[in-house]
Symmetry: C2
């Protein structure tokens, strides 16, 4: 979608006009001359999310200045809207006495995420100064990519024997600290999770009713060690805006909210997309050259090693190429088709495995389907290839089709090229399906195997098949 | 993540054990013998979302039988959990008299989505029989990938002059039809959107307070023509679980809920992933061979045309290859590096454009950064390549490094290969950045340009550069 389309009709606060480069430079000017009042007046109407985006257009030192000039609640909202890596970088420049007030305004999960990205030497100094230091210290213990790593400790929970009126009072008491309340959790005397009440249900129930009789018992929950992808899958499957997290004793210890789940979906999708492109390590536009290179160079080097092997395959057939140098012209087609067909098949399998659509039981069926598709595509490509060879011969010779077709050489070359292409596409698809499935069975993330890995191995196999067939079927008859 | 990991601790209703193949075959057996009571008893405890997944393991005719045997509310929940294409296919086998009751239980947006996928000749017969026929007919008019195409007409809206008690009564009246209520909208006498009240706020406000004084005015909204990607971006940016849709007169006409936004995110991510793999048309595992081939073959053919051009580039340098057939061995390395480096750069730019992180203003800066990264990678690869060439010569000649290094031929070949690789990687990155940016400026989806397109054009350019440099720098000195 173009930028023009998206700007057609927008609520005022999301209007791109407000966060354009002129706006950013005016803001920087005010900050530069130390005119904080004018700077704050300029951004007063902006939503914190828009302020957060605006910052990406400003030099870093002014972002820090702006963050410290803002009211602390707004500053915290801006921090929460940034990627945690960027927040941590900006907070690295903020004087220690400003840190605690800002972090105190964040939800526990956001505070833990930012602290987790900050310099390890800073954390022990900042942590004790925080109101929630105990909760945040606990959150920092969890693996960042698990339920524990994305949950917040702000939620509303009430004993089951309370009334609706008492529960409503509890919501009121927590209204400030727990910003998004959609459901409240019901627990027993030991704090064990027993059910939930949606806010709608709470609103519509008589004040004197007991939570026990109002709550729903079919509550979904996870333990903190569950992988974030599984957490998100549960929330998506059952349309949950809030998912309870419990410990081994079934005691409620946190909740994952839908906005964090969406961040996970985005993050995982971007990671998969980058992996398919031969990039690891979740590259961000703000990353340094060194960090970017670290994520890309290994795949390029791996690709080069693979290509060197492919090159040595060609070296083995150097004698054939010396005799018939036209064979070299087929190398790009063989490599392109082996690579593309393999990527198509592997991408579909990796996607199926990630979404849970591909069950272990029907793996053989999937393999069969991919091979069938590859056979259809292979025949189409083989015919097209054979036609191209004949046409090129015709153009080169400047003669009529019947003359070319009567000549054994071009027909045999066309047949050899077509046949090889068919075999190459079929093999490429089979490999594209098999490698992710094998990795999945072995408990390795199949997404690792896509992109450069599949392309490279298929290049090698494709070239072996092509030159072997050419040497056997074409050269002997010249 | 492996299947083993994900099954560790799950709420009962999500336990994979319940939806395994044995379960499905037991269910099919009951349906086969017409023992509907046993079939229903077997699935009675299952969440509709789990039932929906279970169906994917059953032959289609039994899915239809099961759907008709289920209580109509459960059946509708199962329908809503499926992909709309699959729901439409299953409903195609359901007798007409069963259709309307099922569709009536769906939210308007789900009903419209399914009807939009059904046989066009069926719709005019089904539509008049539906309770919401007017609303659904309107929804069907909107482009499926816009706010209008994903919004539902079920929401709660109250006049601003109502009290909190009256608004609560309105929530009660709609509690059945509007399942997920998180906010209610406030409108003026003409039905124009003026604000919103979260359910939390409604719960905590005095019954006699006027909505006008309780509502928040900073409401986000879109018009029905806004692209679904922009809709989702707004909901994500401002952490909304429900987004109002208004017409030109600013009258409220629908709302988009967070679960639909998540579907859009998943759908778009899958589409981008598939495009990068050379697949168009949103392939699903249940698609037919014909449909799958239609999405894949065009890219393979396009790749073949590109590769044929690359082949003819090699053909132009046939004379050089005939003289020094070792040059053919470099073709895979040149193609792999040009392809991989180009894909890496283009993937990052396409992602940045999609997320809005890449602003038109800093495009030149992005290009500079990519070229810098490519230069670093290019130098590393050039050095590695040169070393490989020298080592291969050493291995082939069985001689000492000083002898090889003193010989002009291998050193010159190593230098030529290294230098070409550097230029190829640099050019590939520049092209990988430029093409998506140019397409974006022209209002074309840049994701179309990734994958096979970038790889193919970079293959061609890479080969031209390599053989030109080899012909100029290496061959004349032999």
């Amino acid at each position: 979608m173009s930028a023009q389309e998206s700007s057609s009709i927008m609520p005022e606060s999301t209007s791109p006009a407000k966060v354009d480069p002129t706006f950013a430079s005016a803001l920087v000017d005010h900050l530069d001359t130390g005119d904080l009042d004018s700077a704050l007046a300029l951004v007063a109407e902006l939503h914190p999310a828009d302020l957060a985006r605006l910052a990406h257009r400003m030099p870093r030192e002014y972002v820090t200045k702006l963050l410290m000039a803002l009211p602390v609640e707004t500053g915290a909202d801006v921090l929460a809207a940034w990627e945690e890596e960027y927040s941590a970088e900006i907070l690295g420049d903020v004087p220690p006495e400003h840190l605690a007030p800002l972090l105190n305004e964040l939800e526990s999960d956001d505070a833990a995420d930012v602290l987790g990205q900050m310099d390890a030497s800073v954390v022990p100094h900042v942590l004790p100064a925080l109101e929630d230091s105990e909760a945040i210290r606990n959150l920092l213990e969890y693996d960042a990519e698990t339920a524990g790593g994305i949950m917040a400790t702000e939620y509303v929970a009430v004993p089951m024997h309370w009334t609706v009126a008492e529960a409503t009072e509890e919501v009121r008491r927590n209204a400030e600290t727990v910003e998004e309340i959609y459901v409240i959790f019901a627990v027993d005397e030991a704090g064990r999770l027993n059910g939930f009440v949606s806010l709608k249900r709470l609103l519509l129930s008589p004040s004197s009713a007991l939570i026990e009789y109002v709550m729903r018992k079919d509550i979904h929950f996870v333990t903190p060690d569950i992988d974030q992808e599984e957490v998100v899958r549960i929330m998506e499957r059952y349309d949950l805006v809030s998912l309870a997290v419990v410990d081994e004793a079934h005691q409620l210890i946190g909740r994952v909210t839908i906005d964090d789940a969406i961040d996970v979906i985005r993050e995982e999708a971007e990671e998969d997309y980058q992996r398919l492109s031969g990039i690891t390590g979740d590259e961000e536009p703000t990353d340094s050259i060194v960090r970017i290179t670290r994520g890309r160079l290994p795949w390029l080097l791996l690709g080069m090693i693979g290509a060197a092997i492919a090159g040595s395959v060609i070296g083995v057939f150097e004698e054939s190429i010396r005799r018939v140098s036209v064979l070299a012209s087929f190398i790009p087609v063989v490599m392109a088709m082996a690579g593309n067909a393999g990527i198509q098949s592997s991408a579909i399998i990796v996607q199926g495995l990630a979404s849970g659509d591909v069950w272990s039981a029907n793996m053989l069926r999937r393999l069969g389907k991919e091979v069938l598709v590859a056979a259809v595509n292979g025949i189409a490509l083989a015919v097209a290839m054979a036609l191209v060879v004949v046409l090129v011969f015709m153009a080169g010779a400047g003669i009529w089709p019947d003359v070319v077709l009567a000549a054994p050489e071009p027909v045999r070359l066309a047949a050899t090229a077509g046949m090889s292409l068919f075999v190459v596409v079929l093999l490429a698809a089979a490999i594209g399906v098999s490698i992710p499935l094998v990795l999945h069975r072995a408990g390795i993330d199949p997404a690792l195997a896509t992109g450069p890995f599949i392309t490279t191995s298929n290049d090698i196999i494709g070239l072996v098949v092509f030159f072997t067939l050419a040497t056997l079927l074409y050269l002997p008859f010249l």
